[in-house]
């Protein structure tokens, strides 16, 4: 569809801008209740080891390594302070997605609680102090599905 030869297709920046200005209230209204009511699992977030964080976050659930979730993160971080990470999966009935940075002082970095209408595709930026394994865990079907990758935080320089 064109108007005066101009494409009606809204470009990404204008779309995002419009979304912010026009729809901000609606977006907040729908997402706030979940944020407010999702229980803050203090023990899990304050745990200082990966095992502690996992067992506090998901007590008693079996963990299986899985290729059914796609963890996307850089092999070498461009900036350890803001490492872009995304997780998506086609697993059914996803209740939550959590990200753990093994060597961070508190390994549990984030948990996303999902409802059945949410698409299991989340992204976030994590702070990483040093080279570490990054572990993504998807809670689905009463089990934990895990994928992991090493993200290297390097001094940099000396390239080719």
């Amino acid at each position: 569809m064109t108007v005066d030869g101009q494409s009606m297709k809204m470009n990404r920046r204008r779309f995002l801008g419009a979304l912010l200005k026009g729809s901000a209230c609606i977006a907040v209204a729908t997402s706030l209740p979940r944020l407010a009511f999702a229980a803050w699992n203090e023990k899990a977030f304050k745990a200082e080891t990966l095992e502690g964080a996992l067992s506090n976050k998901y007590p008693g659930l079996e963990i299986v390594d899985s290729t059914a979730l796609k963890l996307k993160a850089p092999a070498i971080a461009e900036n350890g302070a803001v490492v872009p990470v995304s997780v998506k999966t086609d697993l059914p009935d996803v209740k939550s997605i959590s990200l753990f940075v093994e060597k961070n002082p508190s390994p549990l970095a984030a948990t996303f609680h999902l409802t059945p209408v949410n698409v299991a595709d989340v992204s976030i930026r994590l702070r990483m102090g040093e080279t570490s394994n990054l572990i993504a865990v998807v809670e689905s079907g009463g089990k934990l599905h895990r994928a992991q990758q090493e993200v290297k935080v390097t001094i940099g320089g000396c390239g080719g």
């Binding site: 461009e78 900036n79 872009p84 290297k152 390097t154 940099g156 000396c158 390239g159 080719g160």
Partner: protein, 580 residues
């Protein structure tokens, strides 16, 4: 392919027997460049010329270690091991081109290599022989940086040279070490297509109005281009150096994010295959050869990855098997020394056969293209006297390339220590930088060939022994991590005044041991040392540019004789085929 190589050698043999080698006259010895022209399309490939417009000497490495899956395989073969693997006769001109063996003697015999006016003659000939409308010239990047004139014109002298050369498609790495606005200006002035699927505008920058090639996908630049070659169509996807903002300053390109992004690449290949239905899909890559080999095993649907970055002159492609077929992986050396020629034949199912040669560009075997030669001379004129200033005489062969200190690195490190009165010096393990033969005058141009970057500032600071170890371990892991995706493709940091033992097979934190000063004193983790260096990636250093430091030192010493090469004692490397 073997027949072609034998044929090549046979022709070289004739040339030699006929007394045409060594040559001072540029006689009509084009025979060695006379290739069969049976394929359907021809892809010419240059990479990592590092702005070397004039012919130069370039010594291939004597140390290019490979371990784990890379042990004993290209590109981790040097000297006789490389010659044996590729069936190249020792003592031949090809042996000289591909190895460091008897370098000085052979360099005197065969003369200089590369130079854009000779490259132009060869490229034009390879196009004309095959058919101009069926031939593409691809440039893997690291072309707009590496010389004084490239720095002073912010890469523009090279953009013009590439336009004259007729580069059709390129990708980049050091091209991104100018400011982002300059990068975009240079790309706009470039007549070909600059492609990079793995350079994206950061989301917040996009939101703030930073320009993008495609706002929906986030691509900062065109990810690929389809070129029509006669009746055939070939997709060329760009893969820029994935770790540019890590290995080089991100402050010049704050809005862009890089990465290997092989998942994105797979999606793009699939999309191109289904939507555009090209006859072939080629990735023009600046990953480095080890990364390309891994990527070829993971990403399907790519016919060939034409690679650069690691400066590996590899005579024949590696055929990498993956889930859906075979991908060819090549690497075409550096400094304008080689032109890769990939001729593809098509059958009912796409690519059905290929011929590949990596042709050395011997300036003595080719006539200079007058238009290109004229351009280079005119462009250099304003800086000529500065470039040609003799600083000292090389008392021995000076070179850089290799996993650890080369002799020219040692000159830089010694200069840093001498001029700054430092105990220890650090210099980056770049793989570019030309070679100077014994007896040759070391000019300012040679120094700039080794040092010309947009962040050349030097520093002098106190560092603890622990900090020094951390730096060595960090860079060592960038080179020897068993997983190529964690390697950045540079060589080990160069050192002055510091010796150490190095075990590439250990893990990060365990490779470096027994660090000592030149006088044998042990480096202590908690003690501070006075360290000089240059090329800081994080922020600008306060000192003079490194080339001034090196020039001061060279003018002072007059003749270069390396007293001590600070190269480590290697553990677990004695019989490595990457070691001469």
């Amino acid at each position: 392919m073997n027949i072609d190589r034998r044929e090549f050698l046979r022709l070289l043999g004739f040339a030699s027997a006929a007394g045409l080698l060594p040559l001072n006259s540029r006689a009509a010895n084009g025979d060695i460049y006379n290739l069969p022209t049976t394929g359907d399309v021809r892809l010419l490939h240059i990479t990592d010329t590092h702005a070397q417009l004039k012919p130069i000497y370039f010594r291939e490495p004597s140390v290019n270690l490979g371990f784990h899956d890379a042990l004993g395989k290209p590109p981790h073969l040097t000297g006789l091991k490389l010659l044996e693997h590729f069936n190249i006769a020792p003592g031949s001109s090809l042996a000289h081109a591909f190895t460091c063996l008897n370098f000085t003697e052979a360099a005197n015999k065969y003369g200089k290599v590369g130079g854009f006016s000779y490259l132009k003659t060869l490229v034009d000939r390879l196009r004309d022989d095959f058919g101009v409308n069926k031939t593409l010239l691809l440039d893997g990047g690291d072309t707009w940086q590496g010389s004084g004139t490239a720095l002073w014109t912010r890469g523009k002298d090279m953009v013009e040279a590439c336009n004259l050369l007729g580069v059709d498609v390129m990708t980049g790495h050091w091209e991104f070490t100018y400011r982002d606005s300059e990068v975009l200006e240079n790309i706009a002035a470039f007549n070909g297509d600059f492609v990079a699927q793995n350079v994206k505008v950061k989301e917040d920058a996009l939101f703030d109005g930073s320009p993008a090639y495609d706002e929906d996908s986030g691509h900062a630049l065109k990810p690929y281009v389809i070129k029509s070659l006669g009746s055939r169509r070939v997709a060329i996807i760009g893969q820029a150096f994935p770790y540019t903002p890590v290995a080089n300053p991100s402050r010049f390109i704050p809005d862009w994010t890089f990465g290997i992004n092989d998942g994105d690449l797979q999606e793009l290949v699939d999309e191109i295959r289904s939507a555009e239905k090209p006859d072939a899909v080629i990735v023009l890559s600046h990953n480095g050869m080890d990364v390309d080999l891994k990527m070829a095993s993971r990403v399907t649907g790519v016919d060939a990855i034409l690679g650069g970055h690691t400066h590996d002159g590899i005579p024949a492609p590696v055929e990498v098997k993956n889930a859906k077929g075979i991908t060819l992986v090549t690497n075409a050396g550096s400094n304008g020394k080689f032109v890769g020629v990939l001729d593809l034949e098509f059958g009912a199912q796409g690519v059905s056969g290929y011929h590949y040669k990596l042709l050395p560009v011997f300036a003595n075997f080719l006539k200079a293209d007058p238009a290109m030669a004229g351009y280079i001379e005119t462009m250099r004129k304003p800086w000529q006297s500065k470039l040609e200033e003799p600083l000292a005489v090389a008392g021995e062969l000076l070179y850089r390339r290799g996993n650890f200190n080369g002799t020219f690195d040692q000159v830089i490190c010694d200069a840093l220590r001498a001029v700054n009165d430092a105990q220890i010096s650090l210099s980056p393990g770049f793989r570019w930088g030309t070679s100077v033969l014994p007896g040759q005058s070391i000019t300012m141009e040679h120094v700039l060939d080794q040092t010309c970057i947009t962040y050349p500032e030097t520093y002098v600071r106190e560092m603890s022994g622990g900090d020094l170890k951390a730096i060595l371990e960090d860079v060592g892991d960038n080179l020897f991590n068993p997983d190529p995706y964690y390697q950045q493709g540079g060589d080990m940091v160069r050192l002055g005044g510091l010796d150490y033992r190095f075990d590439p097979l250990q893990t990060m934190g365990q490779r470096v041991s027994e660090m000592t000063l030149d006088n044998g004193q042990k480096i202590e983790a908690g003690k501070n040392y006075k360290v000089a260096g240059w090329a800081t990636v994080g922020s600008q250093s306060p000192g003079e540019p490194i080339w001034d430091t090196v020039a001061t030192y060279l003018r002072d010493i007059k003749t270069v004789k390396i007293k001590k090469l600070n190269t480590p004692v290697l553990i677990n490397a004695a019989n490595n085929p990457g070691l001469v």
